[in-house]
Symmetry: D2
């Protein structure tokens, strides 16, 4: 089977580099186009990128010529790691020109006709696409994935919502510096410090989680009706967002029932055996002091979320800690899973 050509928008940035890593040896897709801002276009990739990964740059992209983010790339699928300052217009242009855009940018996430998808939780939200195409007069489409903290949260509460119902969610985040991109946070701000504020983050966690776990009606989404309260914080950790979560369920469930629910959970991504899908989307740790970002973030290739310290709560029903890899599961990996899902479902034929 011949591989399908794909392009990466914003290929030199932090998310773009992660897209290159997850696509480097992909069984279905092949990186054929790299696009970035004018500053980089017209040059060989390795000459313009500040490669910040601990894994070496894949040989195949080193010599590729970086192009402008113009909708004339030779591929039909593009992954967008664009900065939000330009992602809105560029992605619209690509979708209008017939491309399928799998975007990690925030710009279109909350558009009423754009699906915000986690392949394990709400694959049926892709069914809005025909309406999106008709509504916008597009041949192409835009599919988004959520904010990194929202993905980690949603993957842990989603299975419980399906089984027990969900009334309220309280989350306090401990977010890694890689979530701010590169150059991102100045070291003087975060070394030996905690910053109890991330601009716009709490709103994203609250609204995006409700959209993901809400329902797709006829041509529109109805957000889930549980309440979410989020406190977002930055900590001096390289990779991995940790979250302290307290939840109130629709119907009572014991700690054991909740743990079993997570352990047995599998979504469409698992059923379709998508190449980037983790075997087990939610892994539960028994050690009393795990998961921890530095020790655990790369487990299961960074594509599962890791839950620990599950216990009952005097104010809510259940409380726990969840860790997810913010630039893998929370960004490039999530977008890739969405493309795999759309392809496997025949939407790209």
């Amino acid at each position: 089977m011949e591989k399908i050509a794909v392009g990466i928008l914003g290929a030199t940035g932090a998310v773009g580099q992660k897209f290159i890593l997850v696509l480097a040896d992909h069984p279905w897709f092949e990186i054929r186009e790299l696009a970035a801002s004018e500053r980089s276009s017209g040059n060989r990739y390795e000459d313009v990128v500040a490669w910040k990964q601990s894994v070496a740059m894949p040989e195949k992209v080193r010599g590729m010529m970086v192009k402008d983010c113009e909708a004339n790339l030779e591929c039909r699928i593009v992954f967008s790691g664009l900065d939000s300052s330009v992602a809105g217009e560029v992605e619209t242009a690509f979708a209008g020109a017939g491309y399928w855009v799998f975007s990690n940018a925030k710009n279109h996430r909350m558009d009423p006709d754009v699906p915000l998808v986690i392949a394990e939780l709400n694959p049926e939200h892709l069914d809005i696409i025909p309406y999106q195409q008709k509504n916008r007069g597009w041949q192409g489409a835009i599919v988004t994935n959520a904010n990194c903290s929202a993905i980690v949260l949603a993957l842990s509460i989603g299975p419980l919502q399906k089984e027990f119902g969900l009334k309220a969610v309280h989350v306090v985040t401990f977010q890694a510096i890689s979530g701010a991109g590169y150059p991102g946070l100045p070291s003087l701000d975060i070394l030996g410090n905690v910053i109890p504020f991330i601009s716009g983050e709490e709103e994203k966690i609250e609204t995006e989680t409700q959209k993901i776990l809400g329902r797709l009606g006829k041509d529109s989404f109805r957000p889930a009706d549980f309440t979410v309260s989020a406190h977002a914080n930055r900590v001096p950790v390289e990779e991995g967002h940790l979250e302290c979560v307290s939840i109130r369920l629709g119907e009572k469930a014991s700690v054991q029932e909740v743990v079993r629910c997570w352990q047995q959970f599998a979504g469409m991504a698992q059923e379709l055996n998508l190449p980037s899908a983790p075997k087990q989307p939610v892994v539960v740790f028994c050690e009393k002091d795990r998961p921890q970002p530095r020790l655990d973030v790369w487990k299961y290739k960074g594509m599962s979320v890791l839950v620990g310290r599950v216990r009952s709560c005097s104010l809510f029903d259940i409380r726990y800690v969840v860790l997810g890899h913010n630039t893998m599961r929370g960004a490039a990996g999530a977008s890739l899973l969405n493309a795999e899902l759309a392809l496997k479902r025949g939407m790209l034929d």
Copy 2:
């Protein structure tokens, strides 16, 4: 006026060193005795201590001879920075021998006849002392201060409880490594990491806060009846515990009313003008991303708690961030305030 002789138990440890710093130029007290374990006793202080403070060791203690923790020190007041493995018995022995013990150790905090005091919030809890002395047949007494995280939390919720009532408290902590003493946390465990567990900490925060903000009846304490749920976490920060707090009040109050309540709050420590009392126990920051441990922990000499990001909450009423200096306000400084309070109230006459 001649200064009153005091001794320090556990003088070589992390809390003991902080006691030395806060007592070094005290207007009422003078360090006359230093006591520690057998390993150190019989030696000059500077020869046995691993001094880990960024402030130089006060000249007057350098040459002092370290004694055993036996109840034959030449002073009537002792401050205990003892490790909990020995504090229980040693403090009992001193109180039995007529000493007033102001203790930072956890051992006696929850004893039914031992007061757990924050000088601004529940100075009246000292009134249990005559009963304690009678009950135990002591001439001396034990007065404790709370766990560092509990103190920071209590100072922020206490004023609101007094004015609006309090129904529920949800707190997630970001605790500095100095809270674990020295050697404390191995660097391999915490560098670039978060540890979502601190042994026994959540229980202490929950129960001690209720005791502090509860009532002293006739010869016994009645814990406050609000519910507390605590998630405790360690972060790679040197000093300063940060806490994300969400609260439900007894009667509704706006963000403005809550802020004004904090800004106007003063307790007996302020009224009596105790030497170590901060002018304003709770200081409210307006910047959107403050307080931060590294930048703010030493403000107001580390004796106020600093509140920021006050906002309403969809699940509770109010949410905010609070920062306190864990080894000053949360340990040595709290204990010293208690001694100043007891002295000023004439209890030590």
Copy 3:
């Protein structure tokens, strides 16, 4: 005595903020003017500065109006914390307009008629100023201080050069992130890491040290003739540059003689009793594992350099470690000392 009005160029930047701190309660000088880029000018200082100091912003500057960096400020002395992208021209303009510019920028340091001064080591280099003024047709003047790493090195080797002569210097630096200004180093680059390269730093250390410790002949400087080899590295430390130094002396000296030389050293800054001069420019530590940046950098108000681990060397004669506060002694404090020196010597009359 009325205080002398001074201005700060680049007042909102990292060095500018340190100038504000060291000048806030100065006995001779008073901050009368704050100037910065167009982005800030025309606004109140506290509204445009991102204040990153752990000390609160002095009250007196909060409401001061920030002006452009035009040579029409109401003062005769300006301190320049300007970025090197603009410092060259702006400082020239000010000097041409009659201002005395005490500059921390690198632009004019190696100009043949501009003195590069450490008040303890080469105060006589100020004698070039009349020639500079004549040469350039200026009423004003430019006096520079060296790169932060060069200052720390020079203060430790300077006294030895005077007493024993100096043939060779090998230095490996461990430089704090604050040396890169703000925003400076991205946290993703330095958290849990070492960067073995700082652009242009090794050359500055090598050439500036030789100029400082060289001689002023008639209207020109002759660099010192010892060889300097520098390896510059960045480490995840907030403040304080540590340097591992190995030196070959002109005439043999024992470790004891070297230590005594440092301990007895005092320069013109001490003789004139300048307000910002440390009592002892070089302090020698005896502990086997000191000085350390986090524990020691603020000792002696950050204006002395701290030497430790002095021992003989199989390849050179003597090796040791030296620590200096890079933004105090290595920047704002050094510049201020130079201004105090020029004033006390009557050059500003």
Copy 4:
């Protein structure tokens, strides 16, 4: 071919855990015995170990029973990750009882009849073993590998010594915290700090390097005659020792010649194609700011040393930076390579 049974002494410690990782899927060896102190023996491995690796514990060792460090293990080869407080006697007992001990402990490294081997550099030093056995009356043997910093240094200077000769070596180290084992350095000592001292480290670097690069005469080693001067420092980095090295060569060589020498270097480990030998022992980086510990330490499976910033030096001939993985190449991996070497050379038949 059946695998050869091996045991690990000190299996629960930091080095012991690394031995387990490198031996887990080894083509020649199979972990059959785990031994540790009395505190652990008699228990299942997973119940007593504080597993601190980011890789999961290999399944096969989880349930293995930990034994005492008595010389009655069912294997003929043991790897020693013992603490130096006990390694001396225990290793002697095992060698006396017929075991081949490949030791990472410092105790026997400088014994006149014990080889200190880096498989690429001085494999011929193993030829002392028959003399060692005769001299001590042993059936078994002790083979040691060097201190982690010495290995990294030796691998970078060894190829140059062979080709150009070597007169002098000056090295300043930036050592990771994992080099101190677990619990090792207290976090309060190293967070945001540099410690310019590591007990005994400088002597080890100086003497061990000379032994490794010296000659084996008849029944004794003659240390190399170049001089080594080492400054050892600890930095807040998890893994990877970085070293700033300046060298004087026996005969002049250009930067290009030195780089080519490194790139072409291969030793007996490569010629024999030992399973743990890196293809290229010394890899040279061209980027101006690499290698860096966090980004590069795991490259080439952590078994090559990585050189960068090669340039000429005004005081010596050549200066450069070298990085090596301290617990892989500098400890467990080095010991394993020595065992592979001895086996392949038929010494264990």
